[in-house]
Amino acid sequence: MSLSNLIDDWSRYRKGREEGGFHDYEHMWGMSIDLNKCIGCNACSVACYAENNLAVVGKEKFEKGQGMHWLRLERYWDEPDLGEERTTEFQQHGASFLPMMCQQCNAATCEPVCPVAATYHTPDGLNAQVYNRCIGSRYCSNNCPYRLRYFNFWSYYEDSWPAPLQMQLNPDISVRDKGVMEKCTFCVQRIRTVKDTARMEDRKVRDGEVQTACSQTCPTGAIEFGDMLGMYDPETGVAETKVTRMWRKHQVEFGKTKQNKQTPDMRGYRVFEFLNTDPCVMYLDRVREV
């Protein structure tokens, strides 16, 4: 504990800000989600439950809005303007789906408001949540425009995994108790494992080596996950990855509140870009015939 630590941290923080923020980063994890490919099967959500020890709260508490689904599949009904007489058939085009997980914003609104700094930005460009540090003031969730943070309103452990179900919990990640905020981590335990392996073998992390549970499970391959440092700063020598190619193709860039797209076939967008949260997840708009 010392003042010099604080001053050091502060100067590092200021330096990073002035130089654009991401220079010390080893990686910058991001996603690209193609809504054309999404069939709304919810497999990603299920995989997330299994991978991240998410509590299964039961029907009653879920209806009360106390569910813990880090990755939620939002369903929106299409309502094309077909004129007065056919409004009852608005569902003929089916629903569109939007898988929403933590957007890992570069300018995350949840981070500055946490009183104990339990949520912060990692050098990997992730928006981390430290469960042990969280005191449960819930301000982060209130300030998240995506509402992607979930709070342990009850102690779910015994109800969710009655013996012997606790045997199937993922040992790489903790089980959270009541009073703690949690959210999607981009499967940080998998990222750690791959990074450690790469360091042991004295090489760089290869593209596609890290897979989140959701992208691994998606039957149509709608979710792409990868390192996006090359996207931000090409001079760092980071190779192009599948995700960065996707972002470039659809002309979505970081640090913008509005993307200028030149042609309509560039479908990329980020949710609530206008709030300047600078999310790391790009969605590709669904195209349909109306």
Binding site: T109, C134, N142, R147, K178
Partner: protein, 484 residues
């Protein structure tokens, strides 16, 4: 028309010894009504304890909080109590600097109200924490792990601002009480004697002590005013610093401060009437003072209404669809009854204060002041909850009502405040004796009354202005009340 003589701030023929006697009498053995009030307060606290123990055991879900209703009545009531605390500073510090001496008989209990409502407010951020047992992590305490709180977070500013304000206002209350504590010391026996002897810090009432006392008091007053303004501005930044529609409003800091003074003044009127009734303090808590407080409340009510309208207008003419949606939902959504209740109580009811007849009628003023405070409590709730139920993301639109646990704890907070206040009025003088005497003296001079040489030195016929023996210059050396 009524006789103007009746409506004087204070009767200038009041004897100083009489003032001592009246105030000291209020600290004597309590009557039945007092014990009933204490019992009611304890009963309310019991409710809160039951709710809190249950919530502590099972988690915040007991309060019926959910996603996205992460905050609810706890934060609303927290702001309410913080707001209440501003009236004491207004009366004792701001009006002191502005030389409004009508504040003198009523500022002591207002200041006590400040301290106790802060002590009540401080409980709520703790109650609402998911992990209450780790609440001290918000403070920058020294630890080997080198972990600091996040200084960018308004919640940390809250912790600093409120603890500073609580310390300073408690200190201010104590300092202003020293001459009175000396009077108590001179007249007390038993454990009270020991207590007041320790607390009066050897006050003898000599020239040097008075000079230092005045200076300290003035400095504290000057220190407290910016502090009071900053505290509620910081509390408002819990909302204004966020990006949520209906919360990130630039006018929130002045709006909150106005609301705070408003609810504080209303609470002063309530307590004023209660104390006047319980202790029969008609000589001190006069109708004229009540009227002045009411006028002040009316003025603040209009400022608050104006700031409210500013907020609506800036949302209306702004180009944020989400902000507009939240505003419209307040007008016509599921929370509309409470919203209109707030507008009625906060902006319509205060017009009752514009009429002299009602300002002088105690039962009317009682009802009005309680309505005003209900309105202000609703205001805080309407700031917190509609935004949560209707933020940017359509999938997270939800309406949720607080459970019994929240209501119990909110009710219990009133009991807690009441209990602290009841203990205060029996242990400490709730009317400032020395300042009432000053006021009597000044009024007498203003009235150009003949002051006899003896009266000039000691108009009370025995009692000194503060405790202890009178200043060396005063010829008539006399002990306390017995001298009269």
């Amino acid at each position: 028309m009524q006789n103007n003589e009746v409506y004087k701030d204070i009767n200038e023929d009041l004897k100083w010894a009489q003032i001592n006697k009246d105030v000291l009498k209020s600290m004597e053995n309590p009557r039945k009504g007092y014990w009933i009030s204490v019992a009611v307060c304890l009963f309310l606290i019991m409710f809160a304890v039951v709710g809190e123990v249950y919530q502590y055991q099972v988690g915040m879900g007991a309060a019926n909080l959910n996603w996205p209703h992460m905050w609810d009545l706890y934060i609303a009531t927290f702001i309410f109590w913080i707001g209440m605390s501003h009236a004491g500073t207004l009366l004792s510090a701001i009006l002191h600097i502005m030389n409004a001496d009508w504040r003198k008989p009523i500022y002591r209990f207002a200041e006590a109200m400040t301290t106790f409502s802060l002590m009540t407010a401080g409980l709520f951020p703790m109650i609402h924490l998911g992990r209450l047992w780790n609440m001290y992590w918000v403070l920058p305490y020294l630890t080997d792990r080198g972990i600091w709180p996040n200084f960018r977070s308004p919640l940390v500013w809250d912790a600093f601002a409120i603890s500073t304000y609580l310390t300073s206002s408690a200190l201010f209350l104590f300092i202003g009480m020293i001459p009175d504590l000396a009077i108590c010391r001179d007249n007390a026996r038993g454990w009270r004697k020991k207590l007041y002897t320790a607390l009066s810090l050897g006050w003898r009432g000599d020239d040097r002590q008075w000079r230092n006392f005045r200076r300290t008091y003035l400095i504290m007053a000057c220190f407290l005013i910016p502090l009071a303004v900053s505290v509620h501005s910081i509390v408002s930044s819990d909302f204004a610093m966020s990006i949520m529609p209906g919360w990130s409003v630039t006018s929130f800091p002045p709006y909150f401060v106005a609301g705070a003074l408003y609810s504080g003044c209303a609470a002063i009127i309530t307590l004023f009437i209660l104390l006047r009734y319980y202790f029969r303090w008609e000589e001190y808590m006069t109708i004229a003072i009540l009227e002045k407080t009411a006028k002040l409340t009316f003025a603040i009510a209009m400022v608050w209404t104006y700031l409210n309208l500013i907020e609506f207008a800036s949302v209306w003419y702004g180009h944020s669809a989400a902000d507009k949606e939240v505003l419209l939902a307040k007008f016509s959504g599921p929370y509309a009854p409470f919203f209109w209740g707030m507008i009625f109580c906060g902006s319509v009811v205060p017009f009752a204060l514009a009429f002299e007849k009602w300002r002088r009628h105690l039962p009317t003023m009682m009802v009005v002041s309680i309505l005003l405070n209900i309105g202000m409590w609703l205001e805080r709730w309407m700031i917190v909850t509609p935004t949560l139920s209707l933020s940017y993301h359509p999938i997270a639109h939800d309406v949720m009502w607080p459970s019994w646990v929240q209501w119990f704890i909110v009710l219990g907070s009133f009991g807690w405040f009441g209990l602290l206040f009841l203990i205060f009025v029996k242990v400490f003088p709730a009317v400032s004796m020395y300042e009432c005497k000053e006021m009597v003296l000044h009024r007498r001079e203003l009235a150009n009354k003949e002051i006899s040489p003896v009266m000039a030195n000691n108009p009370g016929g025995g009692a000194s202005i503060g405790g202890g023996s009178p200043a060396p210059g005063v010829a008539n050396k006399s002990p306390g009340v017995e001298g009269s």
